[in-house]
Amino acid sequence: MGAKHFGARVARLEDPALLTGRGRFVDDVKIPGVLHACFVRSPYAHARLLGIDVKPALALTGVHAVIVANDLPDPMRSESMPMLLPNPTISSLCTQHALAREEVFYVGQPVAVVIADSRYIAEDAAAAVAVQYEVLPAIGDCRDGIADGAPRAHSAVASNVLSTFQLAYGDVDAAFAGAAHVFEEEIWQHRGGGMAMETRAVLASYDAASDLLTVWSGTQTPHIGRRMLADLIGRELESIRMIAPDVGGGFGPKAIFYPEEAVIPAAALKLGRAIKWIEDRREHFLCATQERDQYWDIAIAVDEEGKILGVRGRMLHDTGAFVPWGIIMPYIAAATVPGPYVVPAYQLETKVVLTNKVPTTPVRGAGRPQAVFAMERLMDRVARELQLDRAEVRRRNFIQPEQMPYEVGLIFRDGKPLVYDSGDYPKGQATALADADYENFRERQRSALNEGRFIGIGIGNYVEGTGLGPFEGVTVRVLQSGKVAVATGATNQGQGTRTTLSQIVAEQVGCRIDDIVMTIGDTGAIAQGVGAFASRQAVNAGCSALLAGQNVRAQLIALAARVLGVNDSDIDLDDGKAVANTGNKPIIGFGELARLAQGIPGVSLPAGQAAGLEHTAYYAPQQAAYCSGSHVAEVEVDAMTGGVKIVRYTVAHDAGTVINPMIVDGQVQGGVAHGIGNALLEWMQYDENGQPLTTSFADYMLPMATDVPTCAIAHVETVNPLNPLGVKGAGEGGTIPAPAAIIAAIEDALSPFDVHFTETPLTPERIVAALRAAGAYEKLFAA
């Protein structure tokens, strides 16, 4: 065997092209004669659509068409977009039309599309399309939406409360009635958008000779997108090919199938021309799905020792104008609250409220950062009230490793009982605390305080259901060149999927990692696929790669043994060759074996010989894989400006078996950066009429290089017993507990002033306001 790939810090195969300007993102795909699109979008959060006059736009030189809803093919002309994740509690099917019909429901909703020679002309023409609206009252805040007599967010939907559901187990009332202490928190949490650096992008081209519609889309889910598109335009799946080439970041919002992904292909078919639409950043702020506000009222009941007896509360979720992915985020949030702790009784009632804002769908973490923030704020509150160390309160309540597998008592979003497969939460926290030098922190804090500096420390623990089904697939095929082709429905937006899967296949098949030819994110390469979301690809695609690789390995060995006249057990596979360990050690290369596996025209294959040294495996996990972690944030707060500097950030992370530690560390570090944005910076604001107020990077802050420290990351590997690789997901864990740890650290830093924070993002203005209200400045100036 050559170099060991699995588990090693293998350099990424993706890098050389991306570093030299040879990446191929959608806007880099050049098709001669391509036309460009610009969408006409609603300027109102809620309005009746009275009429569209396209003539002034059509009069401009270089404009080829202006397409409105009635110009679209059936059935998308009149039917709304499909909803991917149904839930019986959703009272009304709320998805949008690809182009608006009688009513518009959020600022930015597509109303028409202009097709022109250039994007510049298309933008000119879009401004010339005259749309008449009758403005309707809008719901700009979900708390207003539930008030008696509130206007309707949708004229045809009687209640703005689209869904009410409860997750519960145990006797919560009894737990609270008998508790030594009950503490309650009111929490506001905002999460912003995915804000991938590449905006969304669609290019469609129809080839009449092959009757094939090819769509390039900057999507996380090309196979799902193709299914949606086929239904909307009434074409067979086999006559559509969807390709996600290099995609510049995903983070959730690119897992959604959007109106633009249906309208651009429909326009390409209608005009018989290739058409490209590249979203601009302002459109991304207006129209790419986001997460947003949740309001929590949540209480914890504990005994004298701080052991949890029960948790109960209510949560309000602003879902925006539609539910393309159902109510998955509030559901996940509700199921994530108990986390790594023994919570004997639990009850959370959730209301999902329609507002006139862009729909919400999962953004990295998908409801979990909010749940973890709520639970960890309660744990910190218990510690403070009972005058216990915050780590000690958590230690007293951890699920112990010997309790695994641990049944929480809820049904998770995969439809299966929420059963933690494995994990060592006490060890995770102990590791993070040791690496953060938690023990000596109070000493550091005292000496900082003597210098007039306010530093604080905070802890965030979480458990995350990852690796969700239904399945993913990998095909492995040995080529006559001796190289190994791999195709997968998994996709790559920066996770290093190509590298990770190559590591697995190379190890199984016995070839060099650079002799793998991978096709990724292309419906033309593998029949079935799902895509990237829910930290699922290492589990789903990774295990598919393992199973397909094992199968092809067995085929290679059997064929080589027969050709070389030895037993199977005498064959080793290494470096693209089969070597017999007998006699004069005859060798046969993979290329020759691949040719033999094709047989001879007209001659039967030998008994037992499969055709073609090829296998496709579709791995379907039985349930989620539960990863976990502990984060410790140490911050310094400038009491005068409210500025927060994260001076040290420590992570202990359990993603099960690690395939490539470099890639997993990168996922964790990047996830933490996203969590820092959520904790301190990112806030997509709207006014009371649903008008977006933060539609540029000047108004909506992303973390910069000076905001994000380099994390100390430790891997606490507990092998997942439920899948053959032992892996769990790693893509979102970095984000999930970060706001909880950071806000706790800020509160700790400002403990001399006894301020309490229960919100994210916690901006400098709000820190200063809290300090002012607490009389901090009188104290500071007196000192």
Binding site: M197, E198, G248, M704
Partner: protein, 161 residues
């Protein structure tokens, strides 16, 4: 729309074109010259993905018209490695996991090329400060900062310290 002539040198090669006055330098590079390594992430001058060198100084090619680059010498990511191999900085990005999706990467490389030219021995804080004009959503910057410091060290070693 009005058109104007522009003559400029890009990655050492002279170009003379008549373009719309409002054509941005970024779109000119990407769509007129086919140099698609320069990316557009915001088109309002914050994200830095479109950063190129104009007469040796980093500039946002989304905020500049092609005709404003008349007479200028422009370097894009494609010009950092004329022989198609990897530069010291690019190799340091591979070794230190300085990129994930790769969309912001060309702008990062241009900004850091300028930094390492002007300041061969930057501190970590100086690297981070230089990178505040370039947003990355994937990496959390750790690998990029590490790559910059690693490349600076390798370049100093190569140049005899």
């Amino acid at each position: 729309m009005g058109k104007q002539a522009t003559r400029l040198t890009v990655n050492g090669k002279a170009h003379a074109r008549i373009v719309e006055s409002r054509l941005t330098l970024a779109d000119f590079l990407r769509h007129e010259l086919g140099l698609t390594g320069t990316h557009l992430g915001c088109e309002h001058g914050v994200c830095g993905a479109c950063t190129v060198l104009v007469d040796g100084r980093s500039a946002r090619s989304c905020l500049m018209f092609a005709v404003q680059a008349n007479g200028c010498d422009v370097t894009t990511v494609e010009g950092l490695t004329p022989d198609g191999s990897l530069s010291v900085l690019q190799q340091a990005f591979v070794d230190n996991h300085g990129l994930q999706c790769g969309f912001c990467t060309p702008g990062m490389l241009i900004t850091l090329t300028e930094l390492l030219r002007d300041n061969p021995a930057p501190t970590e804080d100086e690297v981070r400060e230089a990178l505040t004009g370039n947003l990355c959503r994937c990496t959390g910057y750790a690998g990029i900062v590490k790559a910059a410091l690693d490349a600076a060290q390798r370049l100093r070693d190569r140049n005899g310290g």
